[in-house]
């Protein structure tokens, strides 16, 4: 069952790389975080870890509902450009994405040799880290860059959940607080974007 959610996580990230509309991108980000939250919940129930269950619920509420909602609201409020065309052409992205994945699978091999159980999840989370970097690189506008940043955070969370069976809860909560601060900063960036548009 864990593999199912991880597959959907990676799939939604890859589809997000090809989207050309901002709200669709937000939807994919929300789906991505939902899968992550469900994954954390399932692992938490499996290992009977209350901290991980709480983080899972918080992930679903904050990342998959609140953050996309507020980003959508901000982008409507500041009239952000909603048509986001990736700078990297699709033809090249089709070759680039499998190349990145194959590369990271071999890159992660020394790490996976050290860890005995579910070693392939580490490779997937590192590759999703690279894919979210690609998402940040391929867009010029602020809003998709923000989504790239957020999904990078998601893939780090995935690494934490699958590799270590859950970070200490206080660290997770700290990350959430960090994210909320980041949203405030993003708000400032959006205001600047609006000035540039005028």
């Amino acid at each position: 069952m864990v593999d199912f959610y991880i597959g959907l996580f990676l799939a939604s990230l890859i589809v997000a790389l090809f989207t050309t509309r901002l709200f669709r991108l937000l939807m994919w980000y929300s789906f991505n975080s939902l899968m992550l939250g469900l994954l954390a919940l399932i692992i938490g129930i499996e290992f009977n870890d209350d901290g991980l269950i709480i983080t899972g619920v918080l992930t679903i509420i904050v990342k998959s509902l609140a953050i996309p909602y507020f980003l959508k609201k901000f982008s409507q409020q500041f009239h952000i450009v909603r048509e986001i065309q990736p700078e990297i052409k699709v033809q090249y992205a089709i070759m680039l994405i499998p190349a990145i994945l194959v590369f990271t699978f071999y890159l992660a091999e020394p790490i996976t040799n050290m860890i005995l159980n579910n070693s392939n999840h580490i490779a997937i989370s590192i590759s999703s880290l690279f894919l979210s970097l690609l998402l940040m690189m391929e867009h010029k506008n602020v809003a998709p860059k923000v989504i790239g940043f957020l999904s990078m955070e998601n893939s780090l969370f995935l690494l934490g959940v699958t590799a270590t069976e859950g970070m200490p809860m206080i660290v997770e909560l700290g990350i959430f607080f960090d994210l909320l601060m980041a949203i405030v900063v993003i708000n400032l960036l959006f205001t600047r974007e609006e000035i540039k548009n005028d």
Partner: protein, 306 residues
């Protein structure tokens, strides 16, 4: 053997109903008065009684192409995985054969479009060639990757193996293959993000443009071929990606299979209502996504084993 033949007959009977079901479901969701789900049969019987007119400019290809469009698809129906446990099936047919048979049918459809030398037919054929050239590699890769997961290259045997032992440990690559195959299902059957099956607007036609000049019995055959194609793709999707319920008592298993076919049709209708048709030059992007997912499912299977 009886179950095998019954299955094929049943699939043939259900083929027009599925397409009419999609159409009427779409009409309900668009707040229109829905057409009957037996509309496919009505159209068929009406077309049989109509006069068949063939363009003077066309050669003999127009006379035999409709049969050659339908027959590879009918042959493919015999190679599908079984829907009931213990039924007879053909185990050795692999991804290349099925893709080849389907593209043989597409080839004759394109010839039919070109033959009457109308501007629309040529345009439709060129578009169809463009789309099917992009579909084929992704389809071979997807079915190949699923067969690798099932542990047998034959599609029928792969369906049986998947039903007996669902690959829980390969769930990630299974999902990638599923997404890829669903995009291919939409592309090959000319559903909405790729092609609008209901339009006769010259800018957007692909499938309709090729069959504009055809009337009567030949049109009935072509329409049957397109519904059979949909049933082939959806039953492949069902038996490769939703392989459960085969071990039930035979009539029950058949019922479960039909319900699953209708679920696939419902999802297609839902997508059609909610999406706009893609511009033709954006279609390679969507099919590119399908190729990426097909490739991904292979490499996650081989490299990670996940």
């Amino acid at each position: 053997m009886i179950l095998y033949l019954t299955t094929i007959l049943l699939l043939l009977l259900i083929a027009p109903i599925l397409l009419s079901f999609i159409k009427s479901l779409k009409m309900i969701w668009l707040f229109k008065r829905p057409s009957s789900i037996f509309q496919g049969y009505r159209n068929f019987s009406k077309l049989l009684t109509k006069e068949t007119i063939i363009s003077q400019e066309s050669s003999s290809i127009t006379r035999y192409a409709p049969f050659l469009v339908l027959s590879p698809l009918l042959i493919t129906m015999f190679f599908l995985p079984p829907i009931v446990e213990g039924a007879y099936y053909v185990s050795f047919v692999d991804a290349f054969t099925i893709t080849g048979l389907i593209s043989l049918s597409t080839f004759f459809l394109m010839l039919l479009g070109l033959d009457s030398a109308s501007a629309f037919g040529g345009m439709g054929s060129s578009r169809e060639a463009f789309i099917s050239a992009l579909v084929e590699p992704a389809m071979v890769l997807t079915i190949f990757s699923v067969s690798m997961m099932a542990g047998n290259l034959g599609v029928g045997q792969a369906g049986v193996n998947l039903a007996e032992h669902f690959p829980k440990e390969h769930m990630a690559s299974f999902i990638f293959a599923g997404i890829s195959f669903f995009i291919l299902l939409l592309a090959e059957n000319g559903r909405i993000p790729i092609d609008n099956p209901e339009t006769h607007l010259e800018l957007t036609m692909v499938h309709e443009a090729m069959i504009l000049d055809i009337t009567g019995v030949y049109l009935a055959i072509i329409e049957t071929a397109s519904s059979v194609k949909f049933v082939i793709f959806s039953s492949l999707f069902v038996s490769l990606f939703m392989p459960w319920g085969l071990e039930l008592y035979a009539p029950m298993a058949i019922l479960v299979f039909i319900v699953k076919l209708f679920i696939v049709a419902t999802v297609v209708a839902l997508l059609e209502v909610n999406m706009a048709k893609l511009r033709l030059f954006k279609v390679p992007n969507l099919l590119g996504i399908a190729i990426v997912f097909a490739f991904l499912s292979l490499i996650t299977f081989y490299v990670l084993g996940a």
